[in-house]
Protein backbone atom coordinates (compact mmCIF):
# COMPACT_ATOMS: atom_id res chain seq x y z
CA UNK A 1 0.00 0.00 0.00
CA UNK A 2 1.49 3.36 -0.99
CA UNK A 3 2.06 5.59 2.00
CA UNK A 4 -0.38 8.44 1.95
CA UNK A 5 1.40 11.70 1.60
CA UNK A 6 0.64 14.38 4.12
CA UNK A 7 -0.51 17.34 2.10
CA UNK A 8 0.07 20.86 3.29
CA UNK A 9 -1.43 23.72 1.42
CA UNK A 10 0.67 26.80 1.79
CA UNK A 11 -0.87 30.18 1.34
CA UNK A 12 1.61 32.98 1.34
CA UNK A 13 -0.50 36.06 2.01
CA UNK A 14 -1.85 35.18 5.44
CA UNK A 15 0.02 35.41 8.67
CA UNK A 16 2.76 32.89 9.29
CA UNK A 17 1.27 30.09 11.34
CA UNK A 18 3.69 29.11 14.07
CA UNK A 19 4.37 25.41 14.36
CA UNK A 20 5.46 23.65 17.50
CA UNK A 21 8.72 22.46 16.03
CA UNK A 22 9.48 25.85 14.55
CA UNK A 23 11.41 27.42 17.40
CA UNK A 24 12.55 30.46 15.44
CA UNK A 25 9.09 31.42 14.34
CA UNK A 26 7.74 30.56 17.74
CA UNK A 27 9.94 33.05 19.45
CA UNK A 28 9.35 35.61 16.73
CA UNK A 29 5.69 35.27 17.57
CA UNK A 30 6.29 35.97 21.26
CA UNK A 31 8.59 38.91 20.53
CA UNK A 32 5.96 40.44 18.24
CA UNK A 33 3.07 39.90 20.63
CA UNK A 34 4.82 41.05 23.79
CA UNK A 35 6.38 43.91 21.88
CA UNK A 36 3.04 45.06 20.49
CA UNK A 37 1.19 44.72 23.81
CA UNK A 38 4.10 46.38 25.59
CA UNK A 39 4.03 49.32 23.18
CA UNK A 40 0.28 49.77 23.64
CA UNK A 41 0.58 49.61 27.43
CA UNK A 42 3.59 51.90 27.54
CA UNK A 43 2.06 54.52 25.24
CA UNK A 44 -1.25 54.53 27.13
CA UNK A 45 0.48 54.87 30.50
CA UNK A 46 3.16 57.33 29.45
CA UNK A 47 0.98 59.49 27.22
CA UNK A 48 -2.66 58.75 28.03
CA UNK A 49 -3.52 61.77 25.98
CA UNK A 50 -4.07 60.97 23.14
CA UNK A 51 -3.16 57.26 23.23
CA UNK A 52 -5.65 56.16 25.87
CA UNK A 53 -8.34 58.24 24.17
CA UNK A 54 -7.55 56.50 20.90
CA UNK A 55 -7.67 53.09 22.59
CA UNK A 56 -11.13 53.92 23.93
CA UNK A 57 -12.26 55.20 20.55
CA UNK A 58 -11.27 52.13 18.52
CA UNK A 59 -13.24 49.13 19.95
CA UNK A 60 -16.35 49.93 17.89
CA UNK A 61 -14.15 49.69 14.83
CA UNK A 62 -12.67 46.39 15.96
CA UNK A 63 -16.18 44.99 16.23
CA UNK A 64 -17.03 46.17 12.73
CA UNK A 65 -13.77 44.71 11.40
CA UNK A 66 -14.70 41.37 12.90
CA UNK A 67 -18.26 41.67 11.65
CA UNK A 68 -17.07 42.27 8.09
CA UNK A 69 -14.45 39.53 8.33
CA UNK A 70 -16.74 36.87 9.76
CA UNK A 71 -19.62 37.59 7.38
CA UNK A 72 -17.19 37.62 4.44
CA UNK A 73 -15.49 34.39 5.44
CA UNK A 74 -18.88 32.67 5.82
CA UNK A 75 -19.84 33.77 2.32
CA UNK A 76 -16.38 32.78 1.07
CA UNK A 77 -16.62 29.33 2.66
CA UNK A 78 -20.00 28.77 1.07
CA UNK A 79 -18.83 29.92 -2.36
CA UNK A 80 -15.53 28.10 -1.88
CA UNK A 81 -17.22 24.78 -1.15
CA UNK A 82 -19.45 25.11 -4.21
CA UNK A 83 -16.52 26.24 -6.35
CA UNK A 84 -14.26 23.47 -5.06
CA UNK A 85 -16.91 20.84 -5.78
CA UNK A 86 -17.48 22.44 -9.17
CA UNK A 87 -13.79 22.33 -9.98
CA UNK A 88 -13.61 18.58 -9.38
CA UNK A 89 -16.94 17.89 -11.06
CA UNK A 90 -16.92 15.58 -14.03
CA UNK A 91 -19.64 17.70 -15.57
CA UNK A 92 -17.84 19.84 -18.14
CA UNK A 93 -20.20 22.82 -17.87
CA UNK A 94 -20.16 23.04 -14.08
CA UNK A 95 -16.41 22.64 -14.14
CA UNK A 96 -16.02 25.44 -16.66
CA UNK A 97 -18.27 27.82 -14.72
CA UNK A 98 -16.35 27.22 -11.50
CA UNK A 99 -12.97 27.57 -13.19
CA UNK A 100 -14.01 30.75 -14.96
CA UNK A 101 -15.20 32.28 -11.69
CA UNK A 102 -11.84 31.54 -10.09
CA UNK A 103 -9.94 32.86 -13.10
CA UNK A 104 -11.91 36.11 -13.35
CA UNK A 105 -11.95 36.92 -9.66
CA UNK A 106 -8.28 36.18 -9.20
CA UNK A 107 -7.44 38.51 -12.03
CA UNK A 108 -9.11 41.58 -10.55
CA UNK A 109 -7.65 43.38 -7.53
CA UNK A 110 -9.83 43.26 -4.43
CA UNK A 111 -9.95 47.04 -4.19
CA UNK A 112 -11.25 47.23 -7.75
CA UNK A 113 -13.88 44.58 -6.93
CA UNK A 114 -14.98 46.62 -3.92
CA UNK A 115 -15.30 49.75 -6.05
CA UNK A 116 -17.05 47.78 -8.74
CA UNK A 117 -19.73 46.33 -6.51
CA UNK A 118 -20.36 49.43 -4.44
CA UNK A 119 -19.91 52.24 -6.96
CA UNK A 120 -20.34 50.66 -10.39
CA UNK A 121 -23.10 48.18 -9.63
CA UNK A 122 -24.44 50.61 -7.04
CA UNK A 123 -24.99 53.11 -9.83
CA UNK A 124 -26.77 50.54 -11.96
CA UNK A 125 -28.97 49.48 -9.07
CA UNK A 126 -29.78 53.05 -8.14
CA UNK A 127 -31.49 53.32 -11.54
CA UNK A 128 -33.92 50.58 -10.56
CA UNK A 129 -37.55 51.74 -10.34
CA UNK A 130 -38.93 52.86 -7.01
CA UNK A 131 -40.12 50.00 -4.84
CA UNK A 132 -43.51 51.67 -4.55
CA UNK A 133 -43.87 51.77 -8.36
CA UNK A 134 -42.81 48.12 -8.57
CA UNK A 135 -45.46 47.18 -6.06
CA UNK A 136 -48.07 49.04 -8.05
CA UNK A 137 -47.11 47.46 -11.37
CA UNK A 138 -47.19 44.00 -9.82
CA UNK A 139 -50.65 44.39 -8.33
CA UNK A 140 -51.87 41.27 -10.15
CA UNK A 141 -49.15 39.05 -8.63
CA UNK A 142 -49.51 37.00 -5.45
CA UNK A 143 -48.68 39.01 -2.34
CA UNK A 144 -45.66 37.01 -1.24
CA UNK A 145 -43.86 37.41 -4.59
CA UNK A 146 -44.53 41.13 -4.65
CA UNK A 147 -43.22 41.37 -1.12
CA UNK A 148 -39.97 39.60 -2.02
CA UNK A 149 -39.41 41.49 -5.29
CA UNK A 150 -40.10 44.85 -3.69
CA UNK A 151 -37.80 43.97 -0.82
CA UNK A 152 -34.96 42.99 -3.14
CA UNK A 153 -35.39 46.06 -5.35
CA UNK A 154 -35.47 48.35 -2.36
CA UNK A 155 -32.41 46.69 -0.89
CA UNK A 156 -30.35 46.84 -4.08
CA UNK A 157 -31.41 50.37 -4.91
CA UNK A 158 -29.98 51.59 -1.66
CA UNK A 159 -27.24 49.03 -1.03
CA UNK A 160 -25.70 49.49 2.43
CA UNK A 161 -21.89 49.80 2.28
CA UNK A 162 -21.52 46.83 4.64
CA UNK A 163 -23.42 44.58 2.22
CA UNK A 164 -21.29 45.72 -0.71
CA UNK A 165 -18.16 45.18 1.34
CA UNK A 166 -19.11 41.68 2.47
CA UNK A 167 -20.26 40.69 -1.01
CA UNK A 168 -17.04 41.86 -2.64
CA UNK A 169 -14.77 40.27 -0.06
CA UNK A 170 -16.80 37.05 0.06
CA UNK A 171 -16.85 36.69 -3.73
CA UNK A 172 -13.14 37.43 -3.96
CA UNK A 173 -12.06 35.09 -1.18
CA UNK A 174 -14.57 32.48 -2.31
CA UNK A 175 -12.47 31.98 -5.41
CA UNK A 176 -9.31 31.44 -3.38
CA UNK A 177 -11.24 29.25 -0.97
CA UNK A 178 -12.46 27.17 -3.89
CA UNK A 179 -8.87 26.24 -4.66
CA UNK A 180 -8.29 25.36 -1.01
CA UNK A 181 -11.37 23.11 -0.97
CA UNK A 182 -10.39 21.51 -4.26
CA UNK A 183 -6.88 20.74 -3.06
CA UNK A 184 -8.21 19.50 0.28
CA UNK A 185 -10.72 17.15 -1.34
CA UNK A 186 -8.16 15.88 -3.82
CA UNK A 187 -5.73 15.18 -0.99
CA UNK A 188 -7.98 12.40 0.32
CA UNK A 189 -7.02 8.93 -0.87
CA UNK A 190 -9.19 7.53 -3.66
CA UNK A 191 -9.65 4.38 -1.60
CA UNK A 192 -11.86 6.34 0.80
CA UNK A 193 -14.30 7.13 -1.97
CA UNK A 194 -14.20 3.54 -3.19
CA UNK A 195 -14.82 2.17 0.30
CA UNK A 196 -17.78 4.47 0.84
CA UNK A 197 -19.27 3.81 -2.58
CA UNK A 198 -18.85 0.05 -2.19
CA UNK A 199 -20.85 0.20 1.05
CA UNK A 200 -23.69 1.77 -0.90
CA UNK A 201 -23.25 5.47 -0.12
CA UNK A 202 -24.10 7.71 -3.05
CA UNK A 203 -21.82 10.48 -4.33
CA UNK A 204 -23.24 13.16 -2.08
CA UNK A 205 -23.16 11.03 1.08
CA UNK A 206 -19.61 9.99 0.26
CA UNK A 207 -18.56 13.62 -0.10
CA UNK A 208 -20.24 14.90 3.06
CA UNK A 209 -19.80 11.91 5.38
CA UNK A 210 -16.41 10.60 4.35
CA UNK A 211 -14.38 12.99 2.20
CA UNK A 212 -15.10 16.47 3.56
CA UNK A 213 -14.75 15.54 7.26
CA UNK A 214 -11.25 14.32 6.43
CA UNK A 215 -10.43 17.06 3.94
CA UNK A 216 -11.30 19.60 6.62
CA UNK A 217 -8.07 18.73 8.39
CA UNK A 218 -6.08 19.75 5.33
CA UNK A 219 -8.38 22.63 4.54
CA UNK A 220 -8.49 24.26 7.95
CA UNK A 221 -4.97 25.69 8.17
CA UNK A 222 -5.21 27.50 4.82
CA UNK A 223 -8.77 28.58 5.68
CA UNK A 224 -7.48 30.02 8.94
CA UNK A 225 -4.75 31.70 6.97
CA UNK A 226 -7.28 33.12 4.53
CA UNK A 227 -9.32 34.34 7.49
CA UNK A 228 -6.34 36.28 8.78
CA UNK A 229 -5.54 37.62 5.31
CA UNK A 230 -9.19 38.59 4.94
CA UNK A 231 -9.18 40.38 8.27
CA UNK A 232 -6.24 42.45 7.11
CA UNK A 233 -7.76 43.08 3.70
CA UNK A 234 -10.98 44.15 5.41
CA UNK A 235 -9.22 47.45 6.12
CA UNK A 236 -9.93 48.20 2.44
CA UNK A 237 -13.63 48.55 3.23
CA UNK A 238 -12.91 51.72 5.18
CA UNK A 239 -12.99 53.35 1.76
CA UNK A 240 -16.70 52.52 1.47
CA UNK A 241 -17.38 54.41 4.71
CA UNK A 242 -17.73 51.22 6.71
CA UNK A 243 -16.62 52.22 10.20
CA UNK A 244 -14.04 49.50 10.71
CA UNK A 245 -10.85 49.71 12.77
CA UNK A 246 -8.91 51.67 10.17
CA UNK A 247 -11.83 54.00 9.48
CA UNK A 248 -12.22 54.75 13.20
CA UNK A 249 -8.54 55.56 13.44
CA UNK A 250 -8.84 57.85 10.47
CA UNK A 251 -11.87 59.57 12.00
CA UNK A 252 -9.98 60.17 15.22
CA UNK A 253 -6.96 61.45 13.34
CA UNK A 254 -8.88 63.81 11.10
CA UNK A 255 -10.56 65.45 14.08
CA UNK A 256 -7.50 65.73 16.32
CA UNK A 257 -4.79 65.85 13.63
CA UNK A 258 -2.87 63.21 15.61
CA UNK A 259 -2.19 61.01 12.59
CA UNK A 260 0.95 59.44 13.95
CA UNK A 261 -0.64 58.41 17.24
CA UNK A 262 -3.89 57.13 15.73
CA UNK A 263 -2.32 55.04 12.98
CA UNK A 264 0.33 53.70 15.36
CA UNK A 265 -2.42 52.36 17.60
CA UNK A 266 -4.39 51.01 14.62
CA UNK A 267 -1.33 49.14 13.35
CA UNK A 268 -0.52 47.72 16.78
CA UNK A 269 -4.08 46.50 17.29
CA UNK A 270 -4.17 44.81 13.87
CA UNK A 271 -0.90 43.14 14.75
CA UNK A 272 -2.12 41.87 18.12
CA UNK A 273 -5.33 40.52 16.57
CA UNK A 274 -3.60 38.67 13.74
CA UNK A 275 -0.94 37.26 16.05
CA UNK A 276 -3.54 35.85 18.42
CA UNK A 277 -5.61 34.48 15.54
CA UNK A 278 -2.64 32.75 13.97
CA UNK A 279 -1.99 31.05 17.30
CA UNK A 280 -5.62 30.01 17.44
CA UNK A 281 -5.46 28.53 13.95
CA UNK A 282 -2.44 26.41 14.80
CA UNK A 283 -4.10 25.23 18.03
CA UNK A 284 -7.15 24.16 16.04
CA UNK A 285 -4.91 22.39 13.56
CA UNK A 286 -3.39 20.37 16.38
CA UNK A 287 -6.81 19.45 17.74
CA UNK A 288 -8.04 18.34 14.33
CA UNK A 289 -5.17 15.89 14.07
CA UNK A 290 -6.62 13.78 16.89
CA UNK A 291 -6.91 10.63 14.82
CA UNK A 292 -3.48 10.79 13.28
CA UNK A 293 -0.86 8.77 15.08
CA UNK A 294 2.45 10.56 15.40
Amino acid sequence: MPDKQEVRIDVSDGAAIPRKRDIGLFSAWWISLIGALGCIAYLCLAKPEPYLDILKFLPDGILVTFEVTILSILLALFLGLITGLGRISKNRTINLIASTYVEVVRGIPLLVQLFYIYFALGQVFSNLPNPADVAESMAAWPGIIVYVVVGVVGFLKDMPPLVAAVTAMGVCYGAYMGEVFRAGIESIDKGQTEAARSLGFNRRQTMFLVILPQAWRTILPPVGNEFIALLKDSSLVSILAVADLLRRGREFASVTFSYFEAYTMVALIYLVITLILSKGVSAMETRLNYYVRD
Binding site: P2, E194, A195, R197, S198, L199, F201, P213, Q214, Y291
Partner: protein, 246 residues
Protein backbone atom coordinates in the same frame (compact mmCIF):
# COMPACT_ATOMS: atom_id res chain seq x y z
CA UNK B 1 -25.14 -26.54 -9.15
CA UNK B 2 -26.41 -25.49 -12.52
CA UNK B 3 -29.96 -25.95 -11.27
CA UNK B 4 -29.75 -22.83 -9.15
CA UNK B 5 -29.40 -19.37 -10.60
CA UNK B 6 -26.01 -17.70 -10.39
CA UNK B 7 -25.83 -14.84 -7.89
CA UNK B 8 -23.16 -13.10 -9.94
CA UNK B 9 -23.37 -13.39 -13.69
CA UNK B 10 -20.62 -11.90 -15.81
CA UNK B 11 -20.98 -12.38 -19.54
CA UNK B 12 -18.80 -11.29 -22.43
CA UNK B 13 -17.34 -8.32 -20.60
CA UNK B 14 -14.80 -6.01 -22.20
CA UNK B 15 -12.95 -3.21 -20.51
CA UNK B 16 -10.30 -1.06 -22.12
CA UNK B 17 -7.69 1.20 -20.57
CA UNK B 18 -6.81 3.16 -23.69
CA UNK B 19 -5.65 0.57 -26.21
CA UNK B 20 -5.11 -2.10 -23.59
CA UNK B 21 -7.89 -4.63 -23.06
CA UNK B 22 -7.96 -5.07 -19.27
CA UNK B 23 -10.92 -7.41 -19.66
CA UNK B 24 -11.14 -9.23 -22.96
CA UNK B 25 -14.41 -11.11 -23.35
CA UNK B 26 -14.68 -12.38 -19.79
CA UNK B 27 -17.59 -14.57 -18.69
CA UNK B 28 -18.03 -16.06 -15.24
CA UNK B 29 -20.97 -17.33 -13.20
CA UNK B 30 -20.81 -17.53 -9.42
CA UNK B 31 -23.44 -19.53 -7.57
CA UNK B 32 -24.77 -18.90 -4.05
CA UNK B 33 -22.44 -20.28 -1.41
CA UNK B 34 -19.59 -20.73 -3.83
CA UNK B 35 -16.01 -19.67 -3.04
CA UNK B 36 -14.06 -18.61 -6.07
CA UNK B 37 -10.42 -17.60 -6.01
CA UNK B 38 -9.10 -15.57 -8.93
CA UNK B 39 -5.35 -15.81 -9.56
CA UNK B 40 -3.05 -14.48 -12.22
CA UNK B 41 0.02 -12.35 -12.76
CA UNK B 42 -0.18 -8.63 -12.06
CA UNK B 43 -1.91 -6.76 -14.84
CA UNK B 44 -3.91 -9.85 -15.76
CA UNK B 45 -7.20 -8.04 -15.11
CA UNK B 46 -8.19 -9.99 -12.00
CA UNK B 47 -8.66 -6.90 -9.83
CA UNK B 48 -10.42 -5.11 -12.65
CA UNK B 49 -12.85 -8.03 -12.96
CA UNK B 50 -13.54 -8.02 -9.23
CA UNK B 51 -14.03 -4.25 -9.18
CA UNK B 52 -16.40 -4.34 -12.12
CA UNK B 53 -18.69 -6.69 -10.23
CA UNK B 54 -19.72 -3.79 -7.97
CA UNK B 55 -19.14 -1.24 -10.70
CA UNK B 56 -16.17 0.47 -9.14
CA UNK B 57 -14.87 -0.04 -12.67
CA UNK B 58 -17.20 0.70 -15.54
CA UNK B 59 -17.00 -1.93 -18.24
CA UNK B 60 -17.18 -0.98 -21.90
CA UNK B 61 -19.17 -3.93 -23.16
CA UNK B 62 -20.93 -6.98 -21.81
CA UNK B 63 -23.36 -7.71 -19.03
CA UNK B 64 -22.98 -8.04 -15.27
CA UNK B 65 -25.95 -9.21 -13.22
CA UNK B 66 -25.94 -9.43 -9.43
CA UNK B 67 -28.79 -11.23 -7.71
CA UNK B 68 -30.95 -10.80 -10.78
CA UNK B 69 -30.20 -7.09 -11.12
CA UNK B 70 -28.31 -5.82 -14.16
CA UNK B 71 -25.65 -3.35 -12.96
CA UNK B 72 -26.14 -1.15 -15.99
CA UNK B 73 -29.92 -1.22 -16.25
CA UNK B 74 -31.42 2.23 -15.78
CA UNK B 75 -34.16 1.00 -13.45
CA UNK B 76 -31.63 -0.51 -11.02
CA UNK B 77 -30.08 1.61 -8.29
CA UNK B 78 -26.38 0.82 -8.20
CA UNK B 79 -26.18 1.89 -4.56
CA UNK B 80 -28.82 -0.68 -3.62
CA UNK B 81 -26.96 -3.39 -5.54
CA UNK B 82 -23.71 -2.45 -3.82
CA UNK B 83 -25.33 -3.09 -0.45
CA UNK B 84 -25.54 -6.75 -1.48
CA UNK B 85 -21.81 -6.84 -2.19
CA UNK B 86 -19.29 -6.48 0.62
CA UNK B 87 -15.91 -5.30 -0.60
CA UNK B 88 -12.54 -5.66 1.12
CA UNK B 89 -9.60 -3.73 -0.29
CA UNK B 90 -5.89 -4.32 -0.35
CA UNK B 91 -5.28 -1.09 1.55
CA UNK B 92 -8.15 -1.55 4.06
CA UNK B 93 -9.60 1.92 3.40
CA UNK B 94 -11.14 2.27 6.83
CA UNK B 95 -12.49 5.72 7.56
CA UNK B 96 -9.75 7.27 9.70
CA UNK B 97 -12.00 9.98 11.16
CA UNK B 98 -14.39 7.40 12.61
CA UNK B 99 -13.82 4.94 15.42
CA UNK B 100 -13.85 1.23 14.70
CA UNK B 101 -17.43 1.06 15.99
CA UNK B 102 -18.51 3.99 13.82
CA UNK B 103 -16.83 2.42 10.80
CA UNK B 104 -19.12 -0.56 11.27
CA UNK B 105 -22.36 1.23 12.13
CA UNK B 106 -22.24 4.19 9.75
CA UNK B 107 -23.57 2.46 6.66
CA UNK B 108 -26.22 0.29 8.40
CA UNK B 109 -27.59 3.30 10.29
CA UNK B 110 -27.52 5.68 7.34
CA UNK B 111 -28.43 3.36 4.51
CA UNK B 112 -30.48 0.58 6.07
CA UNK B 113 -32.08 2.80 8.72
CA UNK B 114 -31.21 0.31 11.43
CA UNK B 115 -31.63 1.85 14.90
CA UNK B 116 -28.31 2.70 16.50
CA UNK B 117 -28.51 0.27 19.47
CA UNK B 118 -29.31 -2.59 17.13
CA UNK B 119 -26.54 -1.58 14.70
CA UNK B 120 -24.05 -1.40 17.58
CA UNK B 121 -25.10 -4.81 18.89
CA UNK B 122 -24.56 -6.25 15.46
CA UNK B 123 -21.22 -4.46 15.16
CA UNK B 124 -20.07 -5.90 18.50
CA UNK B 125 -21.08 -9.36 17.34
CA UNK B 126 -19.02 -8.94 14.17
CA UNK B 127 -16.03 -7.44 15.99
CA UNK B 128 -16.09 -10.41 18.33
CA UNK B 129 -16.18 -12.70 15.34
CA UNK B 130 -13.07 -11.11 13.82
CA UNK B 131 -11.48 -11.11 17.27
CA UNK B 132 -11.13 -7.41 17.80
CA UNK B 133 -14.01 -6.42 20.07
CA UNK B 134 -11.75 -4.67 22.57
CA UNK B 135 -10.77 -2.09 19.93
CA UNK B 136 -14.31 -0.87 19.24
CA UNK B 137 -13.65 2.59 20.63
CA UNK B 138 -10.32 3.39 19.01
CA UNK B 139 -9.48 5.05 15.70
CA UNK B 140 -8.23 2.81 12.87
CA UNK B 141 -4.77 4.42 12.76
CA UNK B 142 -4.14 2.97 16.21
CA UNK B 143 -4.46 -0.56 14.83
CA UNK B 144 -1.98 -2.84 13.10
CA UNK B 145 -2.50 -3.71 9.45
CA UNK B 146 -3.93 -7.11 10.28
CA UNK B 147 -6.34 -5.60 12.78
CA UNK B 148 -7.40 -2.92 10.29
CA UNK B 149 -8.11 -5.52 7.65
CA UNK B 150 -10.19 -7.56 10.07
CA UNK B 151 -12.17 -4.44 10.93
CA UNK B 152 -12.60 -3.80 7.22
CA UNK B 153 -14.04 -7.29 6.77
CA UNK B 154 -16.39 -6.70 9.71
CA UNK B 155 -17.43 -3.36 8.21
CA UNK B 156 -18.36 -5.05 4.95
CA UNK B 157 -20.23 -7.79 6.82
CA UNK B 158 -22.19 -5.21 8.81
CA UNK B 159 -24.28 -4.51 5.72
CA UNK B 160 -25.23 -8.18 5.65
CA UNK B 161 -24.13 -8.69 2.04
CA UNK B 162 -24.99 -11.69 -0.14
CA UNK B 163 -21.51 -11.82 -1.65
CA UNK B 164 -18.10 -10.80 -0.35
CA UNK B 165 -15.47 -9.48 -2.74
CA UNK B 166 -11.84 -9.58 -1.60
CA UNK B 167 -9.28 -7.62 -3.59
CA UNK B 168 -5.85 -8.94 -2.54
CA UNK B 169 -6.77 -8.59 1.14
CA UNK B 170 -3.39 -9.76 2.45
CA UNK B 171 -1.02 -8.20 -0.09
CA UNK B 172 -0.36 -5.08 1.97
CA UNK B 173 0.19 -6.97 5.21
CA UNK B 174 3.39 -7.92 6.98
CA UNK B 175 3.86 -11.69 6.78
CA UNK B 176 3.08 -12.29 10.46
CA UNK B 177 -0.34 -10.67 10.07
CA UNK B 178 -1.51 -12.56 7.02
CA UNK B 179 -2.60 -15.57 9.07
CA UNK B 180 -5.04 -13.68 11.29
CA UNK B 181 -6.83 -12.23 8.26
CA UNK B 182 -6.94 -15.54 6.40
CA UNK B 183 -8.36 -17.22 9.54
CA UNK B 184 -11.26 -14.78 9.48
CA UNK B 185 -11.82 -15.45 5.79
CA UNK B 186 -11.77 -19.21 6.34
CA UNK B 187 -14.33 -18.89 9.13
CA UNK B 188 -16.49 -16.83 6.84
CA UNK B 189 -16.18 -19.43 4.10
CA UNK B 190 -17.17 -22.22 6.50
CA UNK B 191 -20.30 -20.28 7.39
CA UNK B 192 -21.37 -20.50 3.80
CA UNK B 193 -20.71 -16.96 2.59
CA UNK B 194 -20.41 -16.55 -1.16
CA UNK B 195 -16.88 -15.28 -1.72
CA UNK B 196 -14.89 -14.03 -4.67
CA UNK B 197 -11.25 -13.53 -3.76
CA UNK B 198 -8.37 -12.13 -5.73
CA UNK B 199 -5.39 -13.49 -3.84
CA UNK B 200 -2.09 -15.26 -4.19
CA UNK B 201 -2.60 -17.25 -0.99
CA UNK B 202 -2.72 -20.72 -2.48
CA UNK B 203 -2.99 -22.32 0.96
CA UNK B 204 -6.21 -20.43 1.45
CA UNK B 205 -7.38 -21.39 -2.03
CA UNK B 206 -6.71 -25.06 -1.35
CA UNK B 207 -8.56 -24.89 1.95
CA UNK B 208 -11.76 -23.15 0.90
CA UNK B 209 -12.00 -22.60 -2.85
CA UNK B 210 -14.56 -24.52 -4.87
CA UNK B 211 -13.07 -23.15 -8.05
CA UNK B 212 -9.88 -21.38 -8.99
CA UNK B 213 -9.97 -19.03 -11.96
CA UNK B 214 -6.71 -18.26 -13.73
CA UNK B 215 -6.54 -15.00 -15.65
CA UNK B 216 -3.90 -13.52 -17.88
CA UNK B 217 -3.94 -10.56 -20.25
CA UNK B 218 -7.57 -9.81 -19.57
CA UNK B 219 -8.83 -13.30 -20.27
CA UNK B 220 -9.91 -16.27 -18.19
CA UNK B 221 -7.59 -19.01 -19.41
CA UNK B 222 -8.44 -21.85 -17.08
CA UNK B 223 -10.99 -22.72 -14.42
CA UNK B 224 -10.69 -25.70 -12.08
CA UNK B 225 -10.46 -27.00 -8.55
CA UNK B 226 -7.49 -25.96 -6.42
CA UNK B 227 -6.15 -29.52 -6.68
CA UNK B 228 -6.28 -29.31 -10.44
CA UNK B 229 -4.13 -26.19 -10.36
CA UNK B 230 -1.68 -27.66 -7.88
CA UNK B 231 -1.31 -30.91 -9.75
CA UNK B 232 -1.92 -30.42 -13.42
CA UNK B 233 -2.65 -26.96 -14.76
CA UNK B 234 -3.23 -27.33 -18.47
CA UNK B 235 -2.59 -23.93 -19.95
CA UNK B 236 1.15 -23.23 -20.37
CA UNK B 237 0.83 -19.79 -18.79
CA UNK B 238 -1.11 -21.18 -15.84
CA UNK B 239 1.58 -23.81 -15.44
CA UNK B 240 4.30 -21.18 -15.50
CA UNK B 241 2.43 -18.97 -13.04
CA UNK B 242 1.88 -21.82 -10.59
CA UNK B 243 5.57 -22.72 -10.74
CA UNK B 244 6.47 -19.13 -9.91
CA UNK B 245 4.21 -18.65 -6.91
CA UNK B 246 4.62 -22.06 -5.27
Amino acid sequence: MSATKPIVHVSNVFKYFGQLAALNNVSLDIYPGEKVVIIGPSGSGKSTLLRSINRLEEVDRGQIVVDGMDLYAKENDINAIRMELGMVFQSFNLFPHKTVMQNLTMAPIRLKKIPRPQAEDNARRLLKKVGILEKAGVYPTMLSGGQQQRVAIARALAMNPRVMLFDEPTSALDPEMIGEVLDVMVTLAREGMTMICVTHEMGFAREVADRVVFMDQGQILEVGTPEHFFEAPEHPRAKKFMEQIL
